[in-house]
């Protein structure tokens, strides 16, 4: 799949303008569109930081995520991955996440145990939207 960067970049420019996150978002967008399809389905937060030339703890990255996942730009979809104590990873569905927020715990897909500190074991990941 070939993705054209000009449209999302024009939208990023329009929305973020002179915001300090604007150049970071545009760098991320350029890298995202250049990814081959096989690598565009499981992009970590750290990868986004690398694409944007910032540290993962840089607040501008959260601004970029909000912009790049918005309906206007819609370059990325976000999902969460749960890693249990054994290092096994599971993609969490929106329904599982809603339940976790509602009840205050996440059900470990492997053991069935309630994980109360689930936010410590969830990691944001992204896929390029079509």
């Amino acid at each position: 799949m070939s993705v054209d960067a000009s449209e999302p970049i024009a939208e990023i420019d329009r929305i973020l303008g002179d915001d300090p996150a604007c150049d970071v978002a545009k760098n991320i967008a350029k890298n995202i569109v250049a990814l081959p399809p096989s690598q565009a389905k499981y992009i970590s937060y750290s990868q986004l930081a690398k694409f944007g030339h910032v540290e993962p703890a840089d607040g501008r990255l959260l601004q970029c995520v909000a912009t790049l996942t918005s309906g206007r730009v819609h370059l990325l979809n976000v999902f969460y991955v749960y890693e249990n104590v054994n290092g096994e990873e599971y993609k969490i569905s929106p329904e599982q996440l809603q339940e976790a927020h509602r009840h205050g715990f996440l059900v470990d897909p492997d053991s069935g145990e309630a994980v109360k500190d689930f936010r410590k074991h969830l990691y944001p990941y992204f896929e390029r939207s079509n």
Binding site: A66, S70, G71, V78, L122
Partner: protein, 220 residues
């Protein structure tokens, strides 16, 4: 923890702390909302309310510049700030007409805002906005049952404008129920059954000052 490339990856908990320390809490909450499939209407409306508060803070810093703006220009300024936060905000012509501020998330979640510019206690003008919001634009379907009446005030004492407006609208709308009048944040909340389906439509009535008239010392 590391990702597949061996890089450190932050957990959701760590990103929450980053968001608090960098003023990006709304963006963090938007990420959560979107990862959850954009179904949590309560959180969506809470994010919108906080985003509007953020706009109010920004606008309060630029009364001299904003005072010269028209109603449409002020709405567009507000939309730009909301978009800058990461919300899907627009001036939309597809929601039953030309609603001033439309915020959508996913397929279902919708918040509508109608803006009016006043230079005093112009209740009839504000009422036009309220009626447009309620009867022209609102669908009042589930997850689409809240909106805002933004009153840009190019005059003194927005608290007085709001008080006069509350007295006016509660006197005219028999089915309108007063929910909360926050005299510190200077805002008012109401609900009223919608004529389309009888469901309650909730409105946040929010005056925003764009008044700028610095006083000068009177020489003795």
């Amino acid at each position: 923890m590391t990702d597949s490339a061996g890089q450190q990856r932050p957990s959701l908990d760590e990103l929450r702390i980053v968001s608090l320390s960098t003023g990006m809490e709304l963006q963090y909450r938007l990420m959560n909302l979107r990862a959850g499939g954009m179904k949590d209407a309560e959180e969506f409306y809470a994010i919108v309310d906080d985003a509007i508060d953020s706009c109010v803070s920004t606008m309060a810093r630029y009364p001299k510049e904003l005072q010269k703006q028209t109603e449409d220009q002020l709405s567009i300024f507000m939309i730009a700030k909301l978009e800058g936060i990461g919300l899907n905000a627009s001036h939309d012509s597809t929601v039953g007409g030309h609603c001033d501020i439309v915020i959508k998330e996913g397929v279902d979640l919708l918040w509508l805002g109608e803006a009016k510019l006043v230079t005093g206690k112009q209740n009839a003008h504000i009422e036009e906005g309220y009626l447009q919001l309620l009867s022209r634009y609102a669908t009042c379907l589930p997850s689409q049952d809240r909106g805002g009446l933004v009153i840009f005030c190019n005059c003194e004492r927005i608290d007085h404008v709001l008080e006069a407006w509350i007295e006016h609208i509660t006197g005219k709308r028999a089915n309108l129920e007063k929910l909360k009048h926050d005299q510190d944040k200077i805002e008012f909340f109401s609900k009223e059954p919608h004529s389309k389906n009888g469901r309650q439509f909730f409105v946040r009535h929010k005056p925003i000052s764009i008044f700028w008239a610095p006083e000068e010392r009177v020489k003795a």
